[in-house]
Symmetry: C2
Subunit: 354 residues, 2 copies
C-alpha cells in the first residue's frame, strides 16, 4: 500500500442492477417502466438545439421546479430537483443526518441507505420489519438522528398506511423524516397531505419508474422551504449545475400528459395483478405489492436456483443478499407479453400442469 | 430555531456566475465558449430516441470513458467521468482529502475549492500567490493532506510551467495532487505526460469551456487505475448513475471533430490576443492569460465601478470578493464582435481618444 492510500475514503459501494443488452432478453431487474415516456418527450427531443449547449444550464432548474410545484399544488420553494432521486437522497443524508445519534431505517429496505450512511459516516440502526415485512411504527420512537424509509417499501413492495407514517413523523419532531416515494404512483397513498403539518418531513420522488425516464436521471424532493434551503445550500456547495439542459427540458415535458401517465400506470398495475395471480397459482409466496415489482419466493426452489435458471433463459430479475431476503426474487412488472413469457418459463420450470 | 435544525450541515455555498437572459446582452461572465459544439453534436441530437429513455443509462459511462481514453492515448481504467468537473472535483475531495493535515491550494484560485473543503470539513491552508499572481512551488513543500491547483490558474489565467508542476508533485508523494486543467486547451502545457510517473496525480478536465458543452455537464479525471478505483467506489456510493443518456451520447460526439475543435480554439486564442492589445492600450493591467478569459484591472477605475458600468450596458463580466482581486474583472473571451463591443464601451468609458 502506498502512503497516499492512507487518506482514502474506503467504502463498499452500492451495486446497481446489471444492465445487460441482449436482443432477446426480458429485462425485469431494475424496475424500469416497460412503456416509453409521454409523446411530448419525443417531440421535445426533436426541437433541442446544439447551439444552446455552449451555455450553462439554469442552475436553479427553475422551469422544472415550477412544473413540479404546479403539478403537486405546491409553491416553487417547496421543490428541489437532482440527478435522480439517488442524488437527492445522497445530498439529503449529507445535509440532514449530522447527529451523533443513529439514524433509523428498516433492516429490509433500499440497500443504498446503508451505503450513504457509511459514505458520510452517519451512525445507523435498522429495526427489523415484522414477519409480514411491515414497518412497525413503534420501532421508530427511540432516540435517533433521523428516519428514512420508502413507501411502498423496496424491495418488499409493502405499503405503510398514512396513519402509521404520520405516527412516525409525529414521534420524531426533532429530526428530519424522509419518506422515499419512488414507487408511490403505482398505488400507495402519498404523504404529501402531511407536508403542511410537519416542517421536518421530506418526500422524495423519481422520474425513473412511473415517469419512464430512468435514462434522464431526474429526481426531486418536496418539503417546507426552510428545510429545502438547507438542502439547496449543500447542493450549491457540491455542484452548482447538476441538471443538464436536456434533462431540464425533457423533465418538464414528461409532466404534461396526465392522461398518458395514468394510462401507462393502469396498464402496469393491471399486469401486476395478473402476474400475482399467475405466481400464486404456481405456488409462489409474496406480500401484496403496490409497486411495479413483485417480491416473490417459492417454497420448493431456492432464490439462487430460480435466479440462475431465469438468467440462463435471458430473463433478468434481481436478487439481494441477506438472510431474510435471499430466497426472494424482485421481479419488475414489464409488458403483459413479457410477464407471459416469465410465467410460461416458471410454469415449465416448476413442472406445474396449470 | 426548530430542534430539527440542530443537525443540519450549515454551509456557505458557492455562488455561480449569474445567468441573465437578455436579448441584447453580451455575456462574458462564466467563461462559456462563444462557438457552438461540433456539428456532430447537432447531428446526434437529431437521432436521439425517447423510447430508450425508459432504461437506465450505462452506469459505467463506458462509451464516453472509452472515447476519452482513446483521445488521450490512455486505457479506459485511467479515465473517470462525472456531472461537470465540479462533480468530479467534489467527489475527489470526498475520496482523497481525508487527512487531519490541511490540504493546500492558492489564496487566489477557483473559489469552489474552499467551499468543498468546508462542506466536507477538510482543513485547508492557502499559500499566497506571489506579486505576479504566480504559484510558488516552495509553498507546497510543507506537510499537508493533499494539494489542488488549476493550471492555468483561475481567475488569474496565469500558467505554471510543467517543471514547477512536477516539482510540486515530486515533493508530495504521500498525498494526492490534483491539477485542475479546466482551461488547459487554450494554450497551457498539460501535466498528462506526468501520469505514468506519478501514481498520486489526478488531472481534471471539463467539456464546459473548450468543448462548448457547459449545458451538458460533462467533466472527467485522468489518473492511475488504482487512484481512480477509490474515486469510482465513492461515486458508486453516492449516485450509481450520474451521467444521463443524452450526456453520454453527446459527449462522445463532441470528441470526434478535432479540426473543428482546433479551429474554434484558435479563433478564441486570436481574439484573446487582440483583446489583450486593446485592453493594454486603454491602460488596463493584467497578467498573461492562456485561458479563454483575461483578468484585468484599471489603475484609474475601481473594479466595482467598471463592473457596474458594464452591467448597465448589458455587458456581463465577473468580479470576485477578496482584497487581492476586488479591483479586477474576469472577462471571458467571446466572439471578436463581442469583444469589439466591449472595447468600444471601455474606450468611451475611460475617455481614451485612441
Amino acid at each position: 500500500m502506498k502512503n497516499w492510500e492512507k487518506n482514502m475514503r474506503q467504502v463498499v459501494p452500492y451495486v446497481p442492477g446489471e444492465q445487460p443488452d441482449e436482443p432477446d432478453m426480458i429485462k425485469l431487474n431494475t424496475n424500469e417502466n416497460p412503456y416509453p415516456p409521454a409523446p411530448e418527450v419525443q417531440e421535445a427531443l426533436k426541437n433541442l438545439r446544439a447551439d444552446s449547449l455552449r451555455l450553462y444550464p439554469d442552475c436553479t432548474a427553475g422551469a422544472l421546479v415550477h412544473a413540479l410545484a404546479q403539478y403537486h399544488g405546491l409553491s416553487d420553494d417547496q421543490v428541489f430537483v437532482g440527478v435522480g432521486s439517488d442524488e437527492v437522497l445522497a445530498l439529503s443524508f449529507l445535509t440532514f443526518f449530522n447527529s451523533k445519534k443513529p439514524i433509523l431505517f428498516p433492516d429490509v429496505t433500499y440497500s443504498f441507505y446503508k451505503v450513504w450512511a457509511e459514505l458520510f459516516q452517519v451512525p445507523y440502526e435498522c429495526p427489523a420489519l415484522n414477519e409480514d415485512f411491515e414497518i412497525e411504527p413503534g420501532d421508530y420512537k427511540k432516540e435517533n438522528g433521523g428516519v428514512i424509509f420508502p413507501n411502498p417499501n423496496a424491495p418488499t413492495g409493502v405499503v405503510l398506511p398514512l396513519e402509521q407514517i404520520e405516527e412516525i413523523i409525529r414521534s420524531n419532531p426533532d429530526v428530519v423524516v424522509i419518506v422515499d416515494e419512488a414507487y408511490v404512483d403505482f398505488g400507495a397513498v402519498s404523504a404529501l397531505p402531511l407536508l403542511d403539518k410537519y416542517d421536518n418531513l421530506l418526500i422524495v420522488r423519481t422520474f425513473s419508474k412511473s415517469r419512464a425516464m430512468a435514462g434522464m436521471r431526474i429526481g426531486y424532493a418536496m418539503g417546507n422551504p426552510k428545510l429545502l434551503q438547507y438542502l439547496s445550500d449543500v447542493k450549491y456547495s457540491f455542484n452548482s449545475y447538476t441538471m443538464d439542459q436536456t434533462a431540464l427540458v425533457l423533465g418538464v415535458e414528461a409532466l404534461k400528459n396526465e392522461a398518458y401517465f395514468q394510462e401507462t400506470l393502469q396498464k402496469i398495475n393491471d399486469t401486476r395483478e395478473w402476474t400475482k395471480e399467475q405466481l400464486a397459482a404456481l405456488g409462489f409466496i409474496f406480500k401484496d405489492s403496490k409497486t411495479n415489482f413483485v417480491f416473490a419466493a417459492h417454497p420448493d426452489y431456492s432464490g439462487e436456483e430460480l435466479f440462475k435458471a431465469l438468467r440462463a433463459a435471458h430473463i433478468y430479475v434481481r436478487r439481494f443478499a441477506g438472510e431474510r431476503v435471499k430466497e426472494y426474487l424482485r421481479i419488475t412488472i414489464g409488458t403483459r407479453e413479457e410477464m407471459e413469457c416469465l410465467v410460461r418459463f416458471l410454469r415449465k420450470y416448476t413442472g406445474s400442469s396449470k
